[in-house]
């Protein structure tokens, strides 16, 4: 580890105007993108399906894409896991996983190292691949 202090003069830029300027460019880029998206919306709107009808269940019922992975997990979990109802098991597992994510900083207290970072990179990639795969599977199924 180097011994330079982050607040040292040559190591930092003032928040205003340097950093704000950078953020401003990002904001302008997003705005341009938003206007392009809006223009596309004028050409082909988001649109609507048929009006909601509680008596008519469509063939493929799907939640939003960001819940698809969870939905897919729950859909394909066996009906009985360790003697517990499968759906309840799945939901509890997901809830516990979420709790673990929330309190992760309190579990991973070791001094950070390059090796630990590499492990985290691999874990992130694997996790994201699983998540994306489940989402795609949910989307096409």
């Amino acid at each position: 580890m180097t011994t330079t202090h982050p607040e040292q003069e040559n190591d930092s830029v003032p928040f205003y105007p340097d950093h704000v300027k950078t953020e401003f460019y990002v904001v302008v880029a997003i705005l341009v993108l938003a206007f392009i998206v809006g223009g596309l919306g004028l050409l082909s709107p988001v649109g609507l399906q048929d009006p909601a009808d509680s008596l008519n269940t469509p063939l493929h019922v799907k939640p939003e894409w960001y819940f698809l992975a969870l939905y897919q997990l729950l859909k394909y979990i066996p009906p009985q896991v360790l003697g517990i109802d499968g759906t309840i098991f799945g939901v509890v597992t997901i809830a516990l996983a979420f709790v673990v994510v929330v309190i992760w900083p309190f579990l991973d207290k070791k001094e950070d190292s390059k090796k630990a970072m590499l492990v985290r990179v691999v874990a992130s990639i694997v996790g994201m691949i699983i998540l994306v795969a489940l989402t795609i599977w949910g989307e096409v199924s």
Partner: protein, 335 residues
């Protein structure tokens, strides 16, 4: 008005100069007047007759009309009279004195003027005099940001925050026309897409910025996770960030129902079903979300309020906390 010594000297000089000019003029015109006394008052018939005859001169003492430098004086016989030029000198001379004095005053006011300040600077000063904001504000603005934080992957959180702003603005625009009732929700969306000017564009932006916000949230989280920025002392930054992700998902979850079409209805049905299978409190969550056992108009109203009031307020609060904690602890130096 008080005159200072220097000003008195100048005034004296100007008055003296005026008097000299005035007496010179009086002398010149006195001579002319004396000549006019000899020739007698002007006779217009004689002037016209002389003009018609092409003859010069009313009197031997005056130059011929063509050579007289003041033809007007020549004809009207003014140069035979002292009072007209004297009155002219008195009137115009007074104005002249006033003018000269004004120029002098203007010059000295200009010399003693306050240094020029822009309207912005004066406004800032005015506010600052009253509320003393510039010092804490400049402290906030001048806070050093480490140079490594200018890399692109450090702006993912900022993008998320800005997309939230975009969602706020476009969401307000949509809320002007949206009606959260089973009878009108669907048609009001149709109205927004077909009738409202740029309504389709605004809905499109709201739709895609919502998806973008979730993607950016996850990307930001991955960056923080990989770089180990969640580690002590930044544990609570992470916790508040995860809660913000949860709130973002809640935004998506509640917003998805609002179009009140088949996709929205059944997505909400299956999603709330999942929530309902949580042991012990599942039914409670289900009934709270659906306001009853089925997805109905009451669900729509509840989701609408959650979407446009409860979740935004919580998100803004958590964002402020998140930002303040980041400010306090700074950005983690990469390994």
């Amino acid at each position: 008005m008080t005159l200072r010594k220097r000003q008195l000297v100048w005034l004296g000089l100007v008055v003296a100069g005026g008097l000299v000019l005035l007496s010179a003029a009086a002398a010149v015109h006195g001579r002319a007047a004396a000549a006019a006394q000899v020739n007698g008052p002007l006779d217009w018939a004689q002037v016209e007759a002389a003009r018609d005859a092409g003859q010069p001169a009313l009197s031997a003492d005056l130059p011929p009309a063509q050579l007289d430098p003041c033809l007007h004086c020549h004809i009207s016989g003014e140069n035979a009279n002292l009072w007209t030029p004297l009155a002219r000198w008195a009137v115009f001379g007074t104005f002249g004195l006033v003018f000269v004095f004004g120029v002098y005053r203007s010059a000295s006011v200009w010399n003693q003027r306050k240094p020029w300040k822009s309207l912005t600077a004066r406004t800032v000063e005015w506010v600052d005099e009253r509320y003393q904001v510039s010092e804490p504000l400049s402290k906030i603005l001048k806070k050093p940001v480490p140079k490594f934080a200018l890399r692109w992957w450090y702006c993912l959180g900022g993008i998320t925050a800005f997309l939230f702003v975009v969602q706020g603005i476009t969401g307000i625009m949509l809320a002007f026309y949206y009606k959260p009732t089973a009878a009108e929700a669907y048609t009001s969306i149709q109205f927004i897409e077909n009738e409202v000017r740029f309504g389709a564009a605004i809905r499109m932006i709201h739709h895609w910025a919502a998806n973008g916000m979730i993607v950016m949230c996850i990307a930001h989280m991955l960056r923080v996770f990989i770089m180990g920025a969640f580690k002590a002392p930044r544990e609570l930054n992470w916790v508040s960030g995860v809660l913000l992700l949860l709130l973002t998902l809640l935004f998506g979850f509640t917003g998805y129902l609002l179009p009140w079409d088949q996709r929205a209805y059944w997505a909400t049905t299956v999603a709330t079903d999942i929530a309902g299978s949580v042991p012990a409190i599942g039914s409670l969550i289900l009934v709270f979300l659906r306001v009853g056992w089925d997805v109905s108009e009451a669900t729509l109203g509840r989701f609408y309020v959650l979407h446009i009031i409860v979740t935004p307020l919580l998100t803004v609060a958590f964002m402020l906390v998140h930002f303040m904690m980041i400010r306090k602890l700074g950005i983690k130096k990469p390994l």
